[in-house]
């Protein structure tokens, strides 16, 4: 079997590909391994111990690590509200644009991509006066940060939902359902949502991942989330701060794996459809 050749004729060999993968792997692995090694250190006396890990889950230390638990709770709450914003605002808007206002698709795409081009610090400068109004209406509870996060996750959520929308013939399926007697609500719940499940799941997971890793906006708007809690914790107990960071990384990595599996499922499904037709 001949080796695959790309259009330019300069496809890297198997060895080069493995080398690149190795270098990139080492680049990512060294900091993570260093973090793990750090959390196992016994202290200035030298040696290694699991005490920092076990201490984190010891009920006796609950008050000591309260700031972390509060930050984690806030972040999870923010993740839920952000996902709700994505599902209740972005998803219906995208479906509506696809079905009724296809001419606006480019405009919507442009709007959704903008946040990725704006640095978080610039976003905060713009959001600060907005949040003075938000605070008057909704109070200054931490969950209100989800309005800002709803904007920051737009590019990722839009892309994942749009790729699913583009893979199914939304218009024909909706028209078929309508002709069979379905109301618009039934079309949405019984036809579109089940067929957009992969995009919705991926958008939700990626939104959770983004929210769990967000620091700048929460810090500059003086709200506490997981990342700000880790920073605070690092000043009193750097071992636990690193452990929390590692756990957060592992959780996000797991989410990305799930997203990858969902995407692979969608691709193989489309491939099966193409093979049949």
């Amino acid at each position: 079997m001949s080796a695959p050749v790309n259009r330019t004729g300069i496809a890297p060999s198997k060895l080069v590909r493995r080398l690149i993968l190795g270098v990139v792997g080492v680049f990512f692995a060294i900091p993570i391994l260093s973090m793990i090694e750090f959390t196992l250190r016994a202290g200035l006396a030298g040696g290694y111990t699991f005490s920092h890990w076990t201490g984190l889950f010891d009920p006796a230390n609950a008050s000591k690590y309260q700031v972390v638990y509060t930050g984690l709770g806030n972040s999870l709450l923010l993740a839920v509200v952000t996902v709700a914003i994505v599902l209740l605002v972005l998803l219906p808007t995208m479906v509506l644009v696809q079905l009724k206002f296809p001419a606006l698709r480019r405009v919507l795409e442009f709007i959704c991509i903008i946040p990725i081009t704006v640095p978080a610090i610039v976003l905060v400068v713009g959001l600060a006066p907005v949040y003075s109004v938000v605070a008057k209406i909704f109070g200054s509870s931490v969950w209100t940060l989800a309005f800002a996060y709803g904007i920051t996750v737009l590019p990722y959520a839009y892309r994942t939902i749009q790729s699913n929308l583009g893979a199914i013939d939304v218009n024909t399926l909706s028209e078929a359902a309508r002709s069979l007697g379905a109301s618009w609500m039934a079309v949405f719940w019984r036809v579109l949502i089940p067929n957009l499940r992969r995009g919705i799941m991926a958008a939700s997971f990626i939104s959770v991942a983004v929210v769990l890793g967000e620091f700048t906006i929460a810090s500059l708007l003086s709200r506490q989330n997981l990342q700000t809690a880790i920073l605070l914790m690092s000043q009193s107990d750097p071992y636990v701060a690193i452990i929390i960071a590692l756990l957060a990384l592992a959780f996000v990595f797991l989410l990305l794996l799930v997203i990858g599996r969902i995407g692979a499922g969608g691709k193989s499904q489309r491939k099966r459809n193409r093979t049949k037709s």
Binding site: I168, E175, R178, S179, L180, A182, S183, N273, K276
Partner: protein
Amino acid sequence: MSSPQGVAVDLANITKSYGGQLALNALNLSAQPGEFVALLGPSGCGKTTALRSIAGLETIDSGTISINGEDVTDRPTNKRDMGMVFQSYSLFPHLTAGENVEFGLRMRKVGAVERRKKAAAALVMVGLDSHVERYAHELSGGQQQRVALARALVTEPRVLLLDEPLSALDAKVRVQLREEIRRIQTQLGITTFFVTHDQEEALAVADRVAVMQAGNIEQIGTPEDLYRHPETPFVAEFIGLSNRLDGVVSAGEVDVLGYRLPLVHAATADGPVRVLLRPEDVELASEGLPGTVISSSFLGSLRRTNVLLSDDTTMVAVQHTVRENPQPGEHVFLALSGTAVSVVPR
């Protein structure tokens, strides 16, 4: 499945435009109860727009659509009680064939037992009762369209709308399925509109064919009427194959290739015209117009031969039985059968 009573459908002065471009131009069309009407025409003639307007998928600018005299113009699609089969495969991918067929019944809040019974009967009708648990991606294109047909019919709609349902299928399946559609339609007696750009398909299955152009109906009639008595130059040229030959009309007949032939429309004004002569109205004969065979095509049950007449400029297509097999270069004679012909301005 019980046989629903067919309904009369009337479209009166339907106008629809897209950004100033008229898609339907004061369209009038009626279908009798249980009638199978094909909408035939070239791309962009408005046939699909007309069908979608009947379904309520397009909002018309003016005019009325009525079923059995009841105005349904402003009624939403889901309240019109019509079944529709689309050009592209429209089965819901997340449901099995059986669940797809049950969908319309579920929307009508039919009980689960009754639903399953009716869906099974509908799948039997289209010959797919053994595929009830299969998903769309596990079915071939033809099978998907059969399920779509069962899905459209299971609710016993008043009108069946078919939007080029066969165009994505291969030739053999197309013929099989169109005959099946006709059989089921006749069995159920359901009023049906069938959009197609394939004239053979339209002529083969429809009770009446409406030939459309520029958002309106050029002519509507039985397939035989359209083929033998086209009322406009467009229909004459659009329906069937014709030799286009120079001729001269005088006294209600036309002189062409030395023959004097009757006209389909005897009232045609005298003068030079283009004569549309069907290949089957020309015969290979033992004497007549001399010519040389250029090519001959085997078409299954018949053969079509192109003959260059002795003036070396006129090419005539002749349709004949496969028993005759003239070879390229062979000298032959042609005779016209004397059937009435259509003419268009030269």
